[in-house]
């Protein structure tokens, strides 16, 4: 696993949606200290996610599963029918990583993976970097194949 501190972080802008503000606070502090190139925006209110996604235009959405108002899976499903946001890569970040419904979500090629809680911020950022690099690689390969 790559150390996010020793290599360039592969994406520039990430939106984190998690109703637990302890988690979003830790992520903001860690990112500021250890991944300074990354612009990390967080919200604890999933109902504001769409508005933020349109304004912030992140490279990646990191999202919790169980949240009041709008849960992670419903939000991602809604995302897929939005013409502007339908291709946005998503990583789920949840303590319920064994939830059977998540398996269905993983069939979506834009869902890059699931990161389980509890977490070490350092490891989470390393996993995000790894999953996003793999995604970029797949995208380039697909483009080459299409051109060829």
């Amino acid at each position: 696993m790559n150390d996010p501190m020793n290599t360039t972080f592969p994406c520039k802008k990430v939106l984190l949606v998690d109703d637990d503000d302890i988690i979003t606070t830790i992520f903001r502090i860690f990112a500021k200290k250890q991944v300074p190139d990354l612009e990390l925006l967080t919200t604890n209110d999933s109902s504001k996610a769409f508005e933020l996604l349109r304004e912030f235009r992140p490279d990646l959405l990191l999202i919790d599963l169980f949240m009041p108002n709008l849960d992670g899976m419903s939000l991602v499903r809604a995302l897929r029918s939005d013409p502007e946001l339908s291709t946005l890569p998503v990583i789920f970040f949840t303590a319920a990583y064994r939830d059977p419904q998540l398996r269905t979500m993983l069939k979506d090629p834009q869902v890059l993976g699931v990161i389980g809680k509890p977490f070490s911020p350092k490891e989470v950022f390393a996993q995000i970097a790894e999953l996003y690099r793999e995604y970029l690689k797949r995208s380039v390969e697909a483009e080459v194949k299409e051109v060829g």
């Binding site: 637990d20 830790i26 303590a95 977490f119």
Partner: protein, 409 residues
């Protein structure tokens, strides 16, 4: 209500326009005739009595004409004749079964009931499997059931075969896993996260992060205690320490503890003080837990900047603890409140309103309710009787020499 004429073959009562399924019932004589008809099929009762799940055979008016031994065991009946002619929700003491004159299947709550939906499908000639959350009148039993309904015909008479499987243990495990472990893992995640940040912290941050670690440790203890208390309450093993309590003091202490929490950040908690409020007899921890749950739910339901109002007032011989927040409870949420595995946070996510009712009614002996206010607000309330009629006058302090706390189960 609109009166209609009754159809042939059913009880000659004025029919009621209901919120869901028809209210009409077959006369007692027809129920008993159907019952004896079914008993003439040896295979039916021999076979069904060996099944551990509850098996019911209903007539087209959804009245029980046969029930197997499993139901007898659940209800503690000596003779099944006692429930012949009643509907499933009535036999199982569903809290909503008497909410409309037509009984089980006819109330607004029945439109959201899995058993009601399965029966509607069965009456339409289709087999159906649904899940149903049933709470009993006394609030003590909460059953999660899998309900299967199939239309059947025996010697050209139409019946509905209904099988009820108790999923309570399964659901309880699922809820425990999804809420307790999920929340616990989130909190432990926070501990791990701040512990890691300590390595990167300067002097000022170190103090801040240590404080957060302490808060998270307290939260962990609280989460474990809540779960332990709820499990004990469900087993009927919760022991109370009863004492006279000043409602204003209870409200103030709950509000003080919630003001400090993250869920209240950017939100306003307002104490609606009233002068004359009597004492209530209760267990301080449990009362604070029920009232605290109401405050927490209200805070979670509102956006930053909103105000949650809470207080206690005396209405005749009762004290009403209330928590009001701006918003409206959607009808589908309203109809499922207080059920064990229902949560506005998602399927199998919350025990908040369920535990409010279990602890508030069964253990504290009060009433737990809610209402949507006309001005776009939601109020949850717990009403408890005033203790022995003692009333605190303006500024009067409690000076009676109350005996040591007593315990009840």
């Amino acid at each position: 209500m609109v009166e209609k004429s009754s159809s042939a073959g059913t009880q000659s009562i004025a029919l009621l326009l209901t919120d869901f399924l028809p209210a009409e019932r077959a006369p007692r004589a027809d129920v008993l005739a159907d019952h004896h008809h079914l008993l003439s099929f040896d295979l039916v009762h021999t076979l069904f009595n060996t099944v551990p799940s509850v098996v019911l055979i209903l007539n087209p008016q959804r009245q029980i004409i046969f029930a197997n031994r499993a139901l007898k065991g659940i209800l503690g009946l000596t003779d099944l004749v006692e429930i012949l002619g009643s509907r499933p929700g009535e036999a199982l003491c569903c809290v909503h079964a008497k909410a409309a004159p037509g009984g089980c299947g006819t109330t607004p709550w029945c439109t959201m009931c899995g058993a009601g939906k399965a029966l509607a499908a069965g009456l339409g000639g289709k087999a159906e499997v649904q899940e149903c959350r049933l709470a009993t009148h006394d609030g003590r039993i909460a059953l999660d059931l899998r309900v299967s309904v199939s239309p059947v015909e025996l010697e050209q008479r139409p019946y509905l075969l209904m099988v009820l499987e108790d999923l309570s243990a399964e659901k309880r495990r699922a809820v425990l896993e999804r809420i307790f472990f999920h929340d616990l893992l989130n909190t432990v995640g926070g501990v791990k996260g701040y512990a890691e940040l300590l390595d990167l912290a300067d002097e000022t941050e170190r103090e801040l992060f240590t404080g957060r670690l302490n808060e998270l440790a307290d939260k962990l203890i609280e989460e474990i205690n809540v779960q332990r208390e709820l499990s004990a309450a469900e087993r009927g093993e919760l022991t109370l320490s009863l004492e006279p309590l000043d409602p204003a003091e209870v409200v103030a202490s709950v509000l003080r503890s919630y003001e400090r929490l993250r869920v209240a950040r950017g939100k306003h908690l307002h104490f609606d003080r009233t002068d004359k409020v009597g004492l209530v007899a209760g267990d301080r921890t449990l009362l604070q837990r029920v009232f605290g749950n109401m405050v927490k739910n209200a805070l979670e339901a509102v956006p930053p900047g909103a105000t949650v109002r809470a207080g206690a007032e005396q209405v005749e011989h009762e004290v009403r603890f209330f928590v009001t927040n701006p918003g409206v409870l959607p009808r589908e949420v309203e109809l499922q409140l207080f059920k064990r595995s229902f949560s506005t946070k998602g399927e199998g996510r919350g025990l908040g309103t369920y535990s409010m009712r279990l602890l508030g009614e069964h253990y504290l002996g009060g009433r737990v309710g809610y209402h949507n206010g006309s001005e776009g607000s939601v109020t949850f309330e717990l009403t408890l009787p005033v203790w022995e009629g003692v009333t605190l006058r303006d500024g009067q302090r409690l000076e009676h020499g109350f005996s040591a706390a007593s315990s009840i189960v």
